[in-house]
Amino acid sequence: MLEAKNITIRYDARFAVQGVSLRVEPGKVISIVGPNGAGKSTLLRALNGNVKSTAGEVILDERLLRSHTRRAIAQRIAVVAQEADVRFPVTVFEFVLGGRYAGANLTAWGWESGRDIELAQNAIAETELAGFESRLMNELSGGERQRAVLARALATEAKIFLLDEPTANLDLAHQATMLRLIRSRCDKSDSAAVVVTHDVNLAAEFSNEVMLMKDGRSVAFGSPREILTEQLLKQVFGLQVLVDAHPVSGAPRVTPVHEMRSGPRA
């Protein structure tokens, strides 16, 4: 459904992304993991055309991405970026309804139809924000806001989700809930997701494939079990880690091993 072929993105003399390819297929969750400045977010942004690639092509539904209109792209691809900065008194409901911009069935007066409203309400319920509809976005906590951003993406009815650090502001319980939501969308409704994350363990738990990135290049790509190895993680992060199996899920579990000279600090 979505494919990046040999993407290169250059800012002046610096290469942010160099020759990376990626195939997004229905039902798959792909995580992109790597150190800060590896080009993960830039690559993600290129997948819906928000960042222009210097070389290479992005292909959506067998056509060049740039041959689609913005509206058509937005109907297929939803983005969950790091939380929005809201300076105006916008309610959670209005914010989530914004997700219907590209796909709305407008009434003659330019207002969203009952179906659009229903989709927004469902998304609010799914992200556990029911009861928050008339609260103002700038009065919410960071985590609540982040969930509203996810709700807006769910309300679009897009089949491809691009998520940039979707769990950064969430507590433990909500991190799992949000990723489970994305996971189950991908399993049930031929959707797919690309997730940029720093949380290697969540990536191991929820993704079908993991891409390790460093200095703008894809270092390794494969199943979590193939990719999240002590050797590869040391190569990418420069950090000694211990990888064992998660006692419940069996997914790889990564524990950083810090050099401790005199035992753990009290």
Partner: protein, 321 residues
Amino acid sequence: MLLVIVFVISSVIGAQRLSLSGALCALTGKASCSLSAEERAILFDIRLPRILLAGAVGTCLAAAGAAYQALLRNPLAEPYLLGVSNGAAVGTMVALVFFGAHEWGRPVMAFGGAIAATFLVYRLARGRAGASPERLILAGVIVTTFLSSAIVFITTVMDATRIRSFTFWLLGDLSGTTSSLLTVAFIAAAVGVIALVMNARALNLMMLGERDAFDLGVEIGRVRLIVFAAASLLVGASVASSGSVGYVGLVVPHLVRLSFGSDNRLVIPAAAIAGATFVIVADTLARTVIAPRELPVGAITALIGAPLFVYLLKRGTAAVV
């Protein structure tokens, strides 16, 4: 509704008071009313055009203010703060000095000046990471002060007899109405407000960040162009016909948001109506408080607007930058 009431009241009071029943009767188009010929002339030739112009100017400025605030993601954005009005003022003055004979010269040059100033401020404010609200305000201050000196320069080279009327006009003056200016202001108000309302849904998203709006399917380049052009048209028309009436574009959208929320599909038309009401009230005050002498309407809107804005800021409703 309020607009209609204000309209009627404003047409009755003034240096020469008219009877309410007589004016109402005449306004509804009846021929046999209790007004004398002189009173009819005051009502239809002097007062009515002026009230209509005040309404059009208020509509233009308030709708443009709401649009600038949404587009620039800055609750403090306002035609005057951004230097757009000064741009239009310089355009108008150039038109008056060089093509004084052409009636259409003023509005066309004002529109040109407004668009040039908008473009300049936007380019100055735009850094690599986009235009931050802080940069935007700074760019607005730079352009405003630069254009102010241009205005001073033009005023100085003009002959002394015209200086007083110019100073008056610069502060916002509705007394120089002509029927062609009125027509221009009405057409501009209608075209501008319709263009803005048609893009209001896109503005709702751009108000929350251009990158997110892009992701959600907004053609941001096209929307930005249309909104800048429509807002410049509104400001240009209002400055050409009445000079610099300040604070309307700042205060009216804020008050409207307090009661209607932030959806621009409501905010822009509501601000258009509320702006008309506000300027008609202000102009009625301007021509009555020290009658038979008159104040520039801009002085009144600033006197009402500035304290109100300070109050809004303190209440925290004007999400501080």
